[in-house]
């Protein structure tokens, strides 16, 4: 019974969603989705967020208590969390308040910094990928050079055929492999869904 009822809920819920895809009627598209599902999601989100915050606080509290390696950093978490929360609750989240000031002057620059790092990491990854250690890697290297050169004016200067070759690489071998992967992904998704709907896969209920 401990597993049967949750399993029944999952199967019933799954069937409703399958019907939602195939049935355009108002009963499913509006009444079920907008009048039932969306309000429930809205109601559940704050509780989910609360669970997440509690989980994070417990982890950092445990780190401080255990004096785990670099436990001092956990204070920064609490500092950021409390300041941002207070700024939002007291001053509001509108533009001009402390909350938005923190967002615009701290979080955004930090996120931008992280994102900017991506360029360097890409260079490093490209170096690793393009080392011509095997025939496959050499093909990859050549294809990458052609595609990259075709993106800049210099490419056309080198050869007027470069953009066409680049486009062919993107449109034929690249697109074919992408579609192959997508086909597999699609089938994998359907199979996973069926496994759950048919009750074959039950590990998400806790154990086999």
């Amino acid at each position: 019974m401990k597993k049967t009822i949750p399993l029944m809920i999952v199967i019933l819920g799954g069937i409703v969603w399958v019907l939602w895809v195939f049935v355009p009627h108002r009963l499913l598209q509006d009444v079920f989705y907008y009048d039932f599902y969306v309000p429930w999601i809205r109601a559940m989100s704050p509780f989910g967020m609360l669970l997440g915050v509690i989980s994070l606080c417990m982890m950092h509290t445990a780190k401080i208590r255990r004096k785990a390696p670099k436990w001092q950093y956990s204070f920064f978490f609490f500092a950021g969390f409390i300041i941002t929360a207070l700024a939002g609750f007291i001053g509001g989240t509108q533009k001009g308040g402390l909350y938005m000031w923190l967002f615009e002057n701290m979080q955004m620059p930090m996120s931008a910094t992280m994102f900017a790092l991506l360029a360097f990491y890409m260079a490093s990854a490209a170096y690793k990928a393009f080392r011509a250690r095997s025939a496959e890697a050499t093909v990859l290297l050549v294809a990458a050079i052609v595609v990259m050169l075709a993106q800049v004016p210099l490419g056309v200067k080198i050869s007027k055929y470069l953009p066409d070759i680049s486009q062919w690489i993107l449109d034929v071998p690249n697109l074919a492999s992408k579609r192959g992967i997508l086909l597999g992904v699609g089938l994998g998704s359907v199979a996973t869904t069926l496994k759950i709907l048919l009750g074959i896969e039950r590990s998400y209920l806790g154990g086999d």
Binding site: F22, M58, P69, K70, I82, I181, V185
Partner: protein, 941 residues
């Protein structure tokens, strides 16, 4: 430890204070000085115009709050205008329009009780927004026109019947609590005094002192004379056709008059228009009308952005001048307040009836595969036309031609034939298009001059027909030297240049009195999708407040049906008990009217009223809905019957189609009907989406394959090809054990509703079993807080199953952040600080993937990734030791558990892939043979 906490608290408070000081910025002592509240010109008296000089950009203003009140001692926040604090405002003045029902109570942000506005003087009349307090709202009802927006369910089933003493005895209302409303809107009433002020808000949230409170009385004004009037005279039938757009900013014109004014009166007209501009609104100088011919007087029962009218001069007995050239059309109009204006039309164009636009036959179709809120008006037959063409070879002998389809729901094009001609009408070649992908290729014959324009004849063959349709499109395709390509110009169908025409679709519901324009679309269109929404919300006027129950009051009746013959309307009350008194009252009124009327009187107003009342009574009494509802046992059942009837009537539409050149040269058509009656169309919801037959069949095939493979798997062991990443899982966890370092599992960005997350959780379950077996720590940071409890539960169960519940640490499976780079930074931090030996990336990833895996790579961890995110696969392959691509990710759970029923799913997938390959081959063969039925059967996303 306490000392640390105390120290941190002090640091926090200091930081908070310091930051508060940082963002406070400069003082905000200066307020808006030049502020005016004006009556909105040319309107019906329901609008107010506010304008003020904005503060300069040094004040770092982010918005201006506008306050309104009906008395000078209490003004409430009405709305705001956001401005850029860095750029400031470029113009000299800022304008705010109080019209079109702005929100009175915004339930999401309104305070619960009266609150004075911040940073104002103690005696300031400014309050924050109107509070969610019915008593406060009730004080405003007499001073504004107030509308309440409720859900339809709330309106019909959530009211309480309220009786109040009125001038004519007891009056019944539907009472609603304030919190039952979704929103409440209010508009100024003409003739009332209103008070306004404005406050600037600085970047730090500081409000400047309020501007001087200004009062204004909105009044009805003379309409603007900016109407656009076009006239066409059809000389063989002696008909005038008129088309005009109303003046801007006005929606209350009650009467339109069309005139033919001798050009000799133009100086007088202009002189009088100048006098009108400075005269009081009630005075209208129009002596020019004395020498002009009045062509029509029209009172349309609807408001629109375009009006049409037709006058048969012969039938109306209008004596037309011998030369229309000496006359100019004039449109004069009067609003409901009796204020008049006039506008000069363009000279009438003279045409013959044979030149009238040919309105295509049209049909109204219920849209398929919808929820029942669309009707399609489908005009004529579909066709194709060329949009552009360009050379594809340096020798300029090959063209890539792009075309568009003007489709409709009624017919489907099977194939197209393009015939290319040079300017001398010599045929250059023909291309037949079997698969309509909006592009064709055409090889130009040798010897043709470069960049030479050409003509194209486009024919179409409809599905189910054997021959090409006799209707053909002709189009000139001309070379544009600047754009270096050909452009398709005017589309001529049946000798009619479609580009210069528009369609105006007229519609009428069973509750409407007349047709009114719904949408104007280009002449190339072949269909109009008319959305007919369900009655999800209602917005009636709030007419009062009941102090005793604390409820806002609405009229308790709703319009159910309209008699197309007499025009009588059936209004149903929300409460069954009120209908019988309504009928009795009608009978009483009829008796009184009959008693006071002379026996032979049939023309007086009283006689007309008698006829109207009799029709209303007869219509109500004999209506089938009433016959059905009177047996209802409850108010709810009573309303259910009338709501169904109302839905049927308000959502049943009849249509007319008008084709115009936008200059008064138009023709109108109605859908063909056998008996000449209007054809009513009611949209019906569908229970199955026809475009998804292929998907449904494929799902059943997959299901059948699963059942088949499950049965096979019970008899013999199924082979799964080795997947390196999963085969190495044991070694990866074992390495971490040897090194005494933790294992980290990073799920991607999917939510609980994504299949990739479910798949990731299944793998987590298997990995957790390994870490429990090897007694090694498992860390799992999460990005979605809904996934965290599931992950914790799965890991805990895995540890219990392996007999190591004590080793499970809930704090190691935790939420980090739902912000992309914050999560990424946290994962990188954990990788470095905890010196993790093995990292699993399983799920959907975005740009953070490379940042995380490169950090893991540099820290020397073994990394195994699995994702269905195609864009991230190259990065994972480059930086991780093993990568599971696409479907391998979904196969991981089966591979690791070796459960026969799960493994059978993999086999089913393989068989299905085989079917796909066969379908692809069949599709290629059929398409090559120009048989597209198979291709069209498959769904397109």
């Amino acid at each position: 430890m306490k000392r640390y906490y105390l120290f941190c608290l002090l640091v926090l408070i200091s930081l908070l204070l310091a930051m508060g000081g940082c963002v406070r910025g400069r003082s905000a002592n200066a307020g808006v000085e030049v502020f005016e509240a004006l009556d909105m010109p040319h309107d019906d008296g329901s609008g107010v115009l506010l304008r003020w000089k904005p503060l300069d950009k040094s004040h770092r203003i982010i918005q201006y709050n506008v306050y309104r009140g009906h008395s000078p001692d209490s003004l409430f926040l009405l709305g705001n205008i956001e401005v850029d604090p860095k750029q400031g405002v470029m113009g000299e003045y800022l304008f705010f329009y109080d019209r079109d029902y702005l929100p009175l109570v915004q339930f999401e942000t309104a305070p619960s009780k009266l609150k004075k506005e911040k940073h104002q003087a103690p005696d300031s009349p400014l309050y924050q927004a109107v509070p969610r307090d019915a008593n406060v709202v009730s004080t405003m009802l007499p001073h504004y026109s107030v509308l309440g927006n409720l859900t339809a369910r709330g309106f019909y089933n959530g009211s309480r019947r309220v009786e109040k003493d009125g001038e004519e005895g007891k009056e019944v209302f539907a009472g609603f609590k304030l919190n039952q409303f979704e929103s409440i809107y209010a508009n100024p009433l003409p003739g009332n005094t209103y008070y306004y002020s404005v406050v600037a808000v600085t970047e730090t949230g500081r409000r400047t002192p309020a501007a001087r409170v200004c009062s204004v009385i909105p009044v009805d004004n003379r309409p603007d004379s900016s109407a656009v009037f076009a006239t066409t005279y059809i000389q063989d039938t002696r008909q005038f056709k008129f088309e005009w757009s109303p003046p801007t900013g006005t929606t209350d014109i009650g009467l339109w008059q069309g005139w033919l004014m001798p050009k000799s009166l133009l100086p007088l007209y202009r002189q009088e228009q100048q006098k009108n501009a400075s005269a009081p609104d009630s005075v209208f100088y129009a002596a020019w009308q004395n020498g002009s011919i009045r062509l029509f007087e029209h009172t349309p029962p609807y408001w629109s952005q375009t009006f049409y009218h037709q006058v048969d001069a012969a039938a109306e007995g209008i004596n037309l001048p011998s030369s229309l050239q000496d006359y100019i059309p004039v449109l004069s109009f009067m609003d409901y307040g009796g204020f008049q204006a006039a506008t000069l039309g363009k000279s009438a164009q003279v045409k013959n009836s044979a030149e009238l636009p040919i309105v295509p036959a049209f049909q109204v179709i219920d849209k398929v595969n919808d929820k029942g809120d669309n009707l399609i008006v489908s005009f004529g037959k579909p066709f194709a036309f060329i949009t552009q063409a360009s050379y594809t070879s340096s020798r300029k002998n090959k063209l890539r031609v792009n075309y568009e389809l003007s489709k409709n729901e009624h017919y489907e094009i099977d194939r197209l034939r393009f015939t290319f001609q040079d300017t001398a009408k010599n045929t250059l070649g023909t291309v037949t298009e079997y698969y309509l992908d909006n592009v064709i290729k055409f090889k130009l014959p040798a010897g043709l001059a470069k960049n030479q324009s050409f003509r194209v004849r486009v024919e179409f063959r409809l599905r189910g027909e054997k021959d090409f349709d006799p209707q053909v499109v002709w189009q000139d395709v001309t070379y544009d030297a600047k754009a270096m390509r050909f452009n398709g110009s005017g589309v001529t169908l049946n000798g009619q240049l479609l580009n210069k025409y528009f369609f105006d679709v007229f519609a009428k519901s069973k509750l409407d009195s007349d047709y009114s324009p719904v949408m104007r679309i280009g002449g190339i269109s072949r269909a109009f999708d008319h959305t007919i929404p369900f009655e999800d919300t209602v917005t009636p006027e709030i007419v009062g407040f009941d102090q005793k129950t604390g409820r806002l009051l609405l009229e308790p009746n709703f319009k159910v049906a309209k008699d197309p013959v007499s025009g009588a309307v059936l209004w149903a009350p929300l409460y069954k008990q009120d209908f019988a008194p309504y009928l009795t009252n009608l009978e009483k009124e009829l008796a009184e009217l009959k008693a006071g009327l002379a026996p032979d009187d049939s023309l007086s107003e009283a006689a007309q009223e008698l006829r109207d009342k009799q029709a209303e009574l007869d219509f109500a009494r004999n209506h089938p809905a009433y016959a059905q509802a009177k047996d209802a046992k409850s108010d709810k059942a009573w309303r259910k019957v009338f709501r169904a009837e109302k839905d049927k009537n308000s959502r049943s539409y009849a249509y007319q189609l008008l084709m115009t050149d936008g200059k008064g040269f138009w023709n109108i058509a109605e859908p063909a009907s056998g008996d000449g009656e209007e054809i009513w169309n009611y949209p019906v919801g569908n229970w199955f989406d026809n475009t998804k037959w292929a998907t449904l069949i494929a799902s059943f095939v997959m299901l059948a394959l699963v059942v088949y493979t499950v049965s096979i798997s019970r008899r013999k062991e199924l082979y799964i090809r080795p997947i390196a990443g999963l085969a190495e899982l044991d070694n990866a966890v074992g390495r971490a054990t040897e090194m005494g370092r933790p294992v980290m599992f990073v799920p991607g960005w999917g939510t609980l509703g994504d299949v990739c997350t479910i798949s990731a959780m299944m793998i987590l379950n298997q990995i957790a079993k390994k870490t429990a077996e090897y007694d090694i720590r498992l860390i799992s940071p999460h990005v979605d807080y809904f996934v965290v409890p599931l992950a914790q539960e799965m890991v805990q169960t895995a540890y219990s199953e392996m007999g190591r519940p004590d080793a499970y640490n809930q704090n190691d499976i935790f939420f980090v952040s739902d912000t992309q780079f914050a999560f990424c930074a946290a994962v990188n931090g954990i990788t470095v600080r905890e010196r993790v030996a093995t990292i699993f990336y399983m799920g959907y990833f975005y740009a953070e993937a490379l940042l995380m895996t490169e950090t893991g790579n540099q820290s020397g961890a073994i990394q195994i990734a699995a994702t269905d995110a195609i864009t991230q696969i190259p990065f994972f392959i480059t930086t991780c030791d093993y990568t599971l691509i696409g479907e391998e990710f979904y196969a991981a759970s089966a591979y690791l558990s070796r459960d026969p029923s799960l493994v059978s799913m993999l086999k089913a997938q393989d068989y299905f892939k085989l079917i796909i390959v066969v379908c692809v081959i069949i599709g290629v063969v059929l398409s090559t043979a120009h048989v597209n039925a198979f291709l069209n059967f498959l769904p397109f996303e």
